[in-house]
Amino acid sequence: MGVVSMNILPSILILLVTLLTVFAQAALPGFRPWFGAQVDLLPALMIYTALASNLALVTGVAVIGSLAFDALSANDLGVTLLPLFAVGLIIYSRRDLILREQVFAQFVLGGLASLLVPTGTLLLMLSAGQKPLLGWGTLWQFVVMTLGGAVATPLLFGLFSFLNQFLGYKPVTQSSFRPDREIRRGRN
C-alpha cells in the first residue's frame, strides 16, 4: 500500500502534464509564428514515461494524450494512438539497454520519437483515405518537429526530476550515528 501511494504522485504528474501539453500546443502559438510548424511534445513525453515509469502509465499516456490531441485536431479520433503507443512500448521493452541518464541519449530518442509518431500518424491517415495538407513544406515541418522533440526531451527529464524532488518524498539520509556504539559516560 505504501509503495502504491508513493508511486501515484509521479503518475498523476505525468498524466496532468500530458493533458497540459496538448492544451498548450492547441492554445499557444508556440514556434508556429517563427518556424511555420508546431512542435509536438507528446512523443518526448512518451520517451520520459517509457524510461521512467511502468507499462500501465505508458498505455495511459498513449491513450489520454492521443485522444486529447485528436479531439482538438481535425485528425480522426484514435489515429495518433497506435504510433504513440508503439514508440512507448519499444522504448519500454528495451529500456534496460538505454543509458537513460545521458542527455545525448534522451536527445536522440526524443528526436527519433518525434519523427516516427507523426510519420506513423500520417501513414495511417493516408491509408484511411484522408487527405491531409502535404507538400514540400511538410519536410520542413518534420525537421522542426524532430529537432523540437529532441530538445524538449532532456528538458522534460529535468522538469520531472525537479517536480518529483519538489513534490515527492525526500530520500532518507543515513546518519553515521549508531546508538549501540554510543559511549556512555557517567559514574557507576
Binding site: L20, F23, A27, V63, A68, A74, P118, K131, P132, T138
Partner: protein
C-alpha cells in the same frame, strides 16, 4: 522478449484504436467534441488571462495615444456611416428592381462574433475551434469571415464549441471568381506555398484566361456550391502558371484575412 503484460497492453490499445477508428462519423465527432470540452475551463482561463493582459496594456497606454486613436475611429465611423447610407439606398433600389423583375429578395446577412479558442495542434490540418456552438444557432457549413475577408467554414458543432476549417485546408474548397472583365471562375483550394500560409491555390481556371488574369486582381466567392454567398472577398491574385496537367491554369491567391493571427471571427448566417 515481450511478456504477458505487454501483450495485454498491446491488445487493449489495438482494440481501442480499432473501435475508435471504426466509429460512425457522427459518433466520432460527438466523442471528439465531448473529449475536447474537458479543456474548456483551461481555454476560459487562458482567455481570462489574455483579457487581463490587454486590460493592463490599455491602462498604461498614454492618454494622448488614446485620444489620437479615438479621433481616427471617429473619422472612420463617419465615413462608414456615409457608406452605409449609400449601401442602404442601393439595397432599396436592388429590392425594388428585384420586385419588378419578379426575382427573390436578397436576404440580409446576419453575423455572430466568435472568439478563437484553439488552433489545430497537428501541422497537416488548418482548423481552429471557436466559442460558439449549437446553443448559439451554429450549424455545419456556415461561412466564417473577418472584416478583411473569408476565413473558412464550420465543420462540426457541439453545444458550446465549433470547429472551423480554414482556407488552404484540403477539405475547404471555395468556388471563386476573379473580379476582371471576363469574371474568370475557379476553385480556391489547398495552401499554395510551403512556407507562406497566406497563399492558396486557385485551380481549374480556363487556359484562355491567361491574358486576362493579372496580379493584384481581387478574388471573391462566386456563390456557387451553396455554402459561401457571393461576393465575400477571398484575396488577390499573386501570380499564375499552367497546371501540371496542362489543361487548366493555376493562380496563387494572397489571402485577405490573416489566418495565422485569428483572434475573433464572424460566423455568417446567409
Amino acid at each position: 522478449m515481450l511478456k504477458k503484460p505487454h501483450y495485454i497492453a498491446v491488445g487493449v490499445v489495438v482494440l481501442l484504436a480499432l473501435v475508435l477508428l471504426n466509429l460512425p462519423p457522427k459518433a466520432s465527432t460527438r466523442l471528439k467534441l465531448a473529449i475536447g470540452s474537458i479543456f474548456l475551463p483551461l481555454f476560459g482561463l487562458a482567455g481570462g488571462a489574455q483579457q487581463a493582459t490587454s486590460a493592463t496594456a490599455d491602462a498604461i497606454t498614454p492618454r494622448g495615444e488614446l485620444l489620437r486613436q479615438n479621433e481616427t475611429f471617429r473619422r472612420e465611423n463617419q465615413q462608414l456611416k456615409i457608406l452605409l447610407m449609400q449601401a442602404q439606398e442601393n439595397a432599396k433600389a436592388d429590392a425594388r428592381l428585384r420586385e419588378q423583375f419578379g426575382r427573390l429578395k436578397a436576404a440580409q446577412w446576419k453575423l455572430k462574433l466568435a472568439h478563437v479558442l484553439s488552433r489545430d495542434p497537428a501541422n497537416w490540418w488548418r482548423s481552429v475551434s471557436i466559442d460558439l456552438g449549437s446553443r448559439d444557432g451554429i450549424r455545419a457549413d456556415l461561412p466564417v469571415l473577418t472584416a478583411d475577408g473569408l476565413v473558412g467554414k464550420v465543420t462540426s458543432v457541439s453545444f458550446d464549441r465549433s470547429q472551423v476549417i480554414l482556407l488552404g485546408d484540403p477539405n475547404c474548397r471555395v468556388s471563386a471568381l476573379i473580379e476582371n472583365q471576363t469574371r474568370d471562375q475557379g476553385i480556391v483550394g489547398v495552401a499554395g506555398a510551403p512556407f507562406d500560409g497566406s497563399l492558396v491555390q486557385m485551380e481549374y481556371l480556363a487556359r484562355s484566361a491567361a491574358n486576362n488574369i493579372k496580379p493584384g486582381q481581387r478574388v471573391v466567392s462566386s456563390g456557387e456550391g451553396g455554402v459561401f454567398p457571393k461576393g465575400i472577398p477571398i484575396g488577390t491574385i499573386a501570380d499564375t502558371r499552367p497546371a501540371e496537367s496542362g489543361m487548366f491554369l493555376q493562380a496563387q491567391v494572397k489571402l485577405s484575412a490573416n489566418l495565422s493571427g485569428l483572434e475573433e471571427v464572424w460566423v455568417l448566417f446567409p
